[in-house]
């Protein structure tokens, strides 16, 4: 049953899937990395020093783009009602969707980080830290996104509000994830992972409650 749910969610969210527009966040992400050198000039040292942070900001903003179709469509179509009648709790449906959202978003973002790092002229070591940080941080970003998308799904103009609400909630991930670039030891990465795990544990319950209260 979980496999069936996951397959449907992935079909909905993966780039080229029927939700449509799955590649847009990635293009946006690379576009930011491309624009930044144009804006601050070609100073290689400056780019190498600040590039990691720019990638983090771009990743955070790109994570906001897919939120609109994450929950609202299925809520309007009554899919969660029908699942509820079949004994699939809202929490389970949301946990599966969280996994699908992360799978549809994060691996491709990590791959896109390589060209982005090249565009900014990052060192190998910095690129590695950024990749590890994103690997630790994207589950948390996905969790925050899902909870916020579920909360705002039944509101008019919910998508714009969702974007605004994700940003403050994602700040801890950003601080520790991007902070890992500034310190030699892995403690910041571990913190990022810990925050992500806590958010992933909480998000299905928050999102499930939001869906129930939208009925």
């Amino acid at each position: 049953m979980i496999g069936t749910l996951l397959r449907r969610d992935l079909g909905l969210l993966l780039p080229g899937g029927r939700g449509g527009g799955g590649v847009l966040p990635l293009l946006f992400f690379i576009a930011v990395a491309m624009l930044y050198p144009f804006a601050v000039g070609p100073d290689a040292q400056l780019l190498a020093r600040t590039g990691g942070g720019v990638i983090w900001v771009a990743a955070l903003l790109a994570a906001i783009l897919p939120l609109e179709k994450l929950v609202a469509g299925d809520l309007d179509a009554g899919v969660f009602d029908q699942l509820h009648l079949r004994g699939v709790s809202e929490e389970l449906a949301m946990a599966v969707r969280l996994l699908a959202h992360w799978l549809a978003f994060a691996p491709l973002l990590l791959i896109a980080t390589l060209p982005a790092a090249a565009l900014l002229g990052l060192q190998g070591e910095t690129t590695r830290t950024v990749l590890l940080g994103l690997l630790a941080g994207t589950p948390g970003l996905a969790a925050v996104g899902l909870a916020v998308a579920a909360l705002t799904a039944s509101l008019r103009g919910g998508a714009a509000l969702a974007g605004l609400m994700v940003i403050p909630l994602a700040v801890p991930i950003l601080i520790f994830g991007a902070g890992a670039l500034a310190r030699p030891d892995p403690s910041a990465l571990l913190f990022t992972g810990a925050i992500s795990l806590v958010l992933c544990a909480l998000a299905p319950f928050a999102a499930g409650a939001a869906i129930r209260s939208a009925r």
Partner: protein
Amino acid sequence: MTARLAATDLACRRGDRLLFRGLEFDCGAGVAMHIAGANGIGKSSLIRILAGLLRPFAGGVEREGAIGLVDERLALDENLPLGRALEFWEKLDGCRDAGRAMEVLQLGNLMEVPVRYLSTGQRKRAALARLLNRNCPVWLLDEPLNGLDTQAQKAFEALLALHCGGGGIAVVASHQAMALPDPQVIDLAEYSA
């Protein structure tokens, strides 16, 4: 299949309006119930309370047997061909004879058509197909006749008779008259607060 649906002293509030109160019934196997009443009197809310999707303001509902719900929301992926959209629910429901519903509801030639291109009546028939495939004893139907042509209405009424004859329960909320097999009629106006 054992089936029972009972409500005790049921009341429903939406916003700050009390829609109905003191509603009681007890449906055993084979009962068809018609919930009648004007627009906005609380028929849809009652169906959703019976389904367990809304919490009643007071009272309680007892259910025995799996519940199938058909309301105005289709719950099928709009961009998929009808056949594949229904397939998702068939898998969840463990349905093996999906062809039967297609045949009865004359959906066979629509299987390749994306759901978003279906007409109102075709969408309703698709929802009924999802219900049939679920093979559950308790049917909760909210305005099932909307958009159906005369022929499809006849087919639907035959399905209802078959379902109730086989020991199933059907609760039908509709403002239209329909041929139910020996129906219990609940007029919500009698319970409105």
